[in-house]
Each structure stands twice: as C-alpha cells, then as structure tokens.
Point group: C2
Chain length 253, copies 2
DNA sequence: CGTGCACTTGACAGCTGTCAATGCCGGTGG
DNA sequence: CCACCGGCATTGACAGCTGTCAAGTGCACG
C-alpha cells in the first residue's frame, strides 16, 4: 500500500521525478486484487501482460511434465511480474498469490511506448531485468553449489536484503509469509529436510523461525553458510540517458 | 567468424536492417582475442564493459568464499557477456574462454546512447535479457528439481537449442567443447558422478559423448528426463518500437 | 616415448529423500 | 464456549542418490 514501494525497483538505480512517476502510472492498467492462493498468470498462457506488484507477496513456479513443481522466486511489492515470458510465445511460469495481493497490469504495448517516449525509464527497466538476472544467478549458485543448510541461509539473506531495499527499517527479525514447503520448493529440497535444517539453524544459534517470522541470531555465520557476499546495486550509472524535458522537478528517492 | 552469428540474438526477435547493424557496430569497441583458459572479466572487478562474443565459447562462473566454483552458463557466439553486472558496483561472475575466442567490448556508455537514439535496438536488447532470464529459470528448475541425469539432459537440450538458433543446420550430433568437470560444475554435481550419468545415458541408448562430441540417440527420452518443454521465442512482438528513419532498407533474417 | 591431463572405476560414507505416523494450531460450526 | 477438522509442522526409520577418496587407464602433446 505504501505508494513508494511500488516504484522502489526504479528508484533503486537513480532518482525518479514526479513526471516520471506519472508516466509510469499511465503505463499501467487498473488495480486488481487476488486472494491468497489465486493464480495471476498460468504457465502456457500467451504472454500478453506484465504486472506491477503493489502489495503482498507472490511466487512464481514452473511445473515439470510429471507434475513436480519448482519454485523460482518470491516477489515483493514493487517487483514487476511476468517480464521473462515477454521473450516467449507462452508464459514460462505460474504466478500465484502467497498473501492477498494488489497488482496493476502493465500491457506490453505500453512497454513499446516507454522505450520510445522515455529512454531513461526504459533503461531503468533494463537495469531491473539485469538485477533479476543477478538474483537468479545467486540462486543457481546456492542450489547448485551448497548443501541444504547453505541454500536456506542464502535464500533468507537474499529475501532479507530485498525487503530491506524497500524498507531500510527492516531489522534482523522479519515476517516471511511462506510455509516450510514453500521454502523447500524454492531451494530444491524436501519439506522434511527443510524442517531439519531450521532445527539445526536454531540449535546452532544462527537463525530461528516460528509463526512465519524469521529471526537472524548470527548474521555472520549465516553469511558463511551462504558463501557469497551481499550484492551492491550500482547507483546512478553514468551511462543512463538523462531526463528529457520538463526540468526543475523534485527528485524522488 | 560467421558475421551473422554475432547478431543472432538481435535478429531472433525481429528483422534488423543494415542501418541497425551498422549502428550496432558503432556501439562496439575493437575486436580482442583470448586464448583458451584466459579470463575476460573477473569477479569483483568494477563492471564497466560488456562484450559481444564473436567467435568461440566462454563460461561464466561464480566463486564461493571457500573457493568452490559454480558455473552459471556457457556463452555461444552472438551472446552478450557481462550484462547482469551492469546492475551492480562489482561484477558477479568470472568470464573465461573455453576455446580461443574473439570478442568486441561494448562500453556501457554506448548502451545509454542506444536507448536514446534507437529505441528499437534497445527493446531488442531488453528482450535478449528476458530470454536470458528464461534460460536461468530453466537451469534453476533443472538443478533444483531433477536428479543428476535429468540435469545433464536438460543442459544438453538447452545448449543444443541455442546452437540450433544460430545455425539451424546443427543436427543431433554436435561438438561440445567442454570437459566433464565443466558439465559437472554447470549442473551442480561432481565429475565422478557426471561420468556415471554419461555412462547410463549411453547404456540406455539416450545419448553418447566422446571426444567433445555429443550425439542424441533418443531425443524423446532425453526430453522426458529434462521434464520441460522446448521454449519458443516470440517473433515480431507487436509492441516493439518501429524502425525510426531511413526506410526501404532490406531486412536481415 | 614419456608426461600430464582428463576420463574411469571401485569402495564407502553421508546427505537427502521417502514413507508414515504424530502433534500442533487456528478456524469453523454447533 | 467447546469440539471437530484440516493444514502444516515435526519425528523416526530407512533407502538411495550423490559425494569423497584413491587408484588406474587412455589419449594428446611435446
């Protein structure tokens, strides 16, 4: 609901002024709400729209021929959903609401307009896509290279970092509206094993989890388990196109 | 060396005319060659440039604190290297030559110019980034959700599909300039186990590998092992910005 | 013809998955 | 207010996939 949250991903790379916020708004369609568990986009659907997540958490997952699912990512407010599928004829992933959510659809047509009318916003969107690639890369590293406990550690740290990006006030204790089997599906292990991993994290005084609430007890050791450094976003890249017209606006963020 | 190969990724989504090819060329710096094993970009370096891979194969990998490596992707001619790191202050991955390679650097500054001067090329680059996200997503699915043999199957199919994209003549037998430990690192298993997987693939008459050459014996079962359908790129998305000036040029691809 | 690197193979351990049962908690309806 | 119920978390026993270690083989290259 926090209006700023909806554009965090854009303002993360550079200031965005009021004009641009207005322009972003014109790109998006009306707001739509989904209840927990509802599907926002299904695998195999033609990829016609993207969605700006305004409020709530969603997950995107992919389904194997045998019905097994692999969760790819959880989305937080401000994330743009469905962009990867723009490259394909059919959507790759199924996006569903983990909590009650509010989204605004972003018709692909408006992407074309944005590239023509506002190169700077287009470049920011491009950077968001690259940031997502880094997220996926880190996930691959974790899943491919770490034992179960490290995968969970990496996941928790990644989500925490992303939460903190839109709300710097988030501390070492935060709400995580996922079930243990969601986490299992995200890091590619079973629910049972996930449970054992959390028990060990608690025993070792590294992190605890109860009632959908995670508490980091020893972030240092959590990072050791994850084995990768935190990622720092590049602020104000020098190559970004400049704001085109209407000077003198107050910058946001 | 095939000049067309260098721009496959752009022409995959829509026709690109001579003007645009020229414009792409102006974006890139001089050609540079690397020997097998050389590092093109190192983790932690400031992310200043991207590279257009003209010829040869490269790999990008990420290193954990304990020195373990996870390979993320192999790059084929036409791929743009180093884009994800544009979102960060420091490069995420190390890119090294798997074979002798030729690249042209693409200074980031030229990205900004392209977004301003040619929205259509910028949008194509945006689509390339989304396609890469799909590749990463499929890799995550394979690594997170499949046993070793399925991961290898998925990898072989993915590489084959990408090869075929720039050279439709590629058949069910193709060169794969990787060592078994490269494949191991790519799919997150050990060399020893990779070896056993290949033995089983051959025993079962599914695929064989020798002398850096892969042969698909039963593509149907290979796909079953991978568990995911092939991905079809979206051709000529209706929302793409149109070519701006200089009409009447012959379209390429 | 020797050397080195990569590929193979075998034995074994350990992480993780599977199956099945139990416990916990919040929500719902009587 | 209480009993029931369903979803999720937890536990134990066990199997199996995959990793580790170590040795041996084969091929390419000098």
């Amino acid at each position: 609901m926090n209006p700023a949250a909806a554009i965090v991903r854009f303002t993360a790379f550079a200031g965005v002024d009021m004009d641009e916020i207005e322009e972003l708004k014109t790109l998006a369609g009306p707001m739509k709400r989904y209840a927990r568990g509802e599907t926002i986009q299904a695998e195999g659907d033609p990829a016609t729209d993207c969605y700006l997540l305004l409020d709530g958490w969603t997950a995107s997952n992919i389904t194997f021929a045998d019905g097994t699912r692999q969760m790819l990512k959880v989305h937080l407010p401000g994330d743009v959903l469905g962009m990867p599928s723009l490259a394909l004829t059919h959507s790759v992933d199924t996006i569903r609401a983990l909590t009650p959510v509010a989204v605004r659809s972003m018709p692909v047509r408006s992407f074309g307009r944005m590239f023509e009318s506002n190169p700077r916003l287009a470049a920011l969107l491009f950077l968001i896509a690259q940031e997502e690639r880094v997220n996926l890369i880190d996930r691959i590293a974790a899943i491919g290279g770490l034992p179960a406990i490290g995968r969970v550690a990496a996941l928790l740290l990644q989500i925490h970092a992303r939460l903190k990006r839109s709300d710097p006030g988030v501390g070492d204790c935060f709400e995580l509206p996922l079930a243990q089997f969601d986490i299992a599906e995200l890091v590619g292990i079973t629910t049972v094993h996930t449970n054992r991993v959390f028990q060990q994290l608690r025993e070792d005084g590294i992190a605890s989890w109860s009632r959908k609430e995670v508490r980091f007890l020893d972030k240092e050791r959590l990072r050791e388990l994850a084995g990768l450094p935190p990622r720092l976003l590049r602020r104000d890249p020098s190559w970004l196109p400049r704001k085109s017209e209407a000077p003198g606006q107050k910058l946001r963020a």
